[in-house]
Amino acid sequence: MSKDQSDHSRDDITPKIAPKVDRRSFLKGAATGAAALAVNPGAQAQEPSAYQASFTAPSYQQLQRDTGMVAPPTSGRTVVRPGSDLMVQALKDMGIEFVASNNGSSFEGIQESIANYGSPPNHMPEYITALHEESSVDMANGYAKAEGRPMAAMLHGTLGIQHASMSIFQAYHTGTPMILIVGRDESFIQAHTADDMAAMCRSFTKWDAQPKTLPECIDALHEAYRQAVTPPTGPTVIVIDMELQKEEARDFVVPPFRPAEIGGVDHATARDIAKALFDASNPRLNTGMFRTPEGGQAAVQLAELIGASTSTTATGGPMGFPQRHPLCGPGADTTNDYVLGLETDSPNISLQRPAVTSLTAKRDVMGIGFGSLREDYVPSPPGSEPTPQEQNQKQSQGTVLTVDAEASIPLIIAELSKLMTPAKLREIDERKASHARANREAFLTDLRAAVEEKKRGWDLSPVSTARIYAELWPLIMNGDWCLASPSNFSGAHHRELWEHNKPYSFLGSQGAGGMGYGLGASAGAALAARGRGRFVVNIQCDGDFNYAPGALWTACHHELPMLSIMHNNRAWHQEFMFIQYLAGVRGRGTDRGHIGTVLRDPFIDYSKIAQGYGMASEGPIEDPTLLAAALKRGVESVKNGKPYLIDVLTQPR
């Protein structure tokens, strides 16, 4: 539980101000200023500058608002059962643990209900205080990637949606389920409201609704959840009017939540697949990213039942097959006579749930076109020959059944179990044992090669990115960790050095390559980790950090177990390389590529920023021999539930 929703003593809520500050005179100054404005609204406009003169003077009411003098309405309706209580009850019923939000009066009804509904007052969903809507939605993204189920983010009208839009866009690209609640208040600032609020993000959300009555609203909340988690999974939007939030609900009772029903293959297909697996002398499973953690568990059961060697995407993203499972790897014999694809391709048959691609034709009202997300997306320019890679892909692709693999596996297991004989079981046991030996050897061989490779520049300063991953791994390998940040820019060394055995071991990339995602997503993953004995590792690029650093405060405020280690190359280095290359190609000098691409003059002190937000931190660390001890302190801290940041000056790549 956060400090917000626990009981406070008087001491806790009294602002802690350094004794030297004369709080009374500070407040007095502010009050006199405001009073002066109230008495004489024209005071400021007495000697207009040329610039000011081109504007009409603000009205008395505008000034009141701008100077924060607007008091809450005295005639606010007092109701016994506000509609927003029922909305919170619906969120509770659906198991929504968190609502991340930056406050806005368009959802004040719901916010007040999250704080006060029930007796004792509500604890779940917990209100997670975000400093930017982009962070709210990135948190929801990180949480859902780790857990395979949605939390909610709450956005303030037109403004909230626009601040959040890139994060929503990215969540859409990865098909991350989340519920976006947008407040709408026609009686408040008109610029914050719109007739069709969700239109602003319709092109990159799966589903939206703007209910007219309270019962409709509760239904829509339920439907928002079901739509978000049903393939194609993705963000859903519900716009909730202030009227509904404040309405007296009287004796209206929240109907029970009916979970989504997600279907798998039909029985005949399940039987055919089971038979093919059974008949094969060396079957294999190609596995991708499942919908929820249960998908990975079901795939493990299937692999063990039939003794199939199995591929994994666990080093590339969440919800994969456990990397060090004895059956995971190339197997003892790599000539496979039947390959079943589960959320990834196979030369024979694969089961792949529909992706958001299938929605864009209907939902892309803005005509974004989406590049890689279009259903008719053609990687090569039209008319050109397909690349060898595309050709290979075509050849390797057998029949694709657009159906959820996770929901299908239990049906296949049931059919397969019916076919088993003692002789087959003996054959399978032998196959499993030889696969396990081969996979272990393959893993260790790759690891030995990787270790040799990661030593490059080990002792040099600034610190090599490989050394960060290598020195961190022994400190966390026996703990319950989650690498929440994207890793490509920091070398992705975990892929070769670490073991990804949990559905949340690695949460993958941003989705659409949008910078600013790392901190928010890590904080969201840490929300999932907190209370589950897990901790989050965030290898944080400096450029990415600076878009929305306020998530650091959220991590402190909600005591999130998040260890951030800066990959501080003091640049938007990716872009530096591009400019550098282009300058070379254009032949006009190569010593000005840093303009607009580096973060120097002055250098940014990330440890100080973290401290400013209230987070324990250290650095910058330039000497690689100091790294291991710092990492140890960081891991200790997050294991005790305290976020920590280590600034490390790194090699650019």
Binding site: P326, R448, K455, G457, W458, M577, Q580, G584, P652
Partner: protein
Amino acid sequence: MRKHVFGTIVLLMGLYATPAAAQLGPVNGDAEAGAQLYYDHGCYACHGFSGYGRKDLNNTGSPWLTNEEIFRAFLRARADVAPLLPSTDMPNYPANSLSDAMVRDIYAYVRSMPDNRPETADVPALRNILEAAEQRQYKP
């Protein structure tokens, strides 16, 4: 002109076909000045601050580092929008960007870069990674 440069490279590379240390050409430039140029002209972007990066420079046996002439020809060979050599990674450095003298200094710096790959046995973290992976059993 382009053919000429390409011809020179092929010829020079033929002369120094086996990149053994003994066959490396002499270093004539100033490594310290080269270090500054290496930084100012963004070589570190891909080759790291110390020669390890997307593309290593340290003791790699790269034929392009055989001697100053080859190195210079290599930098110049991309002096156009359509590079002469089939590479899209390495920017070109025409003479108006890096003079011959500057190239000499950068060459000296690159040749001075340390080859830093300690023995695995001497690095506790790496030893630990290998030992743990060998011992650990998979647990769901």
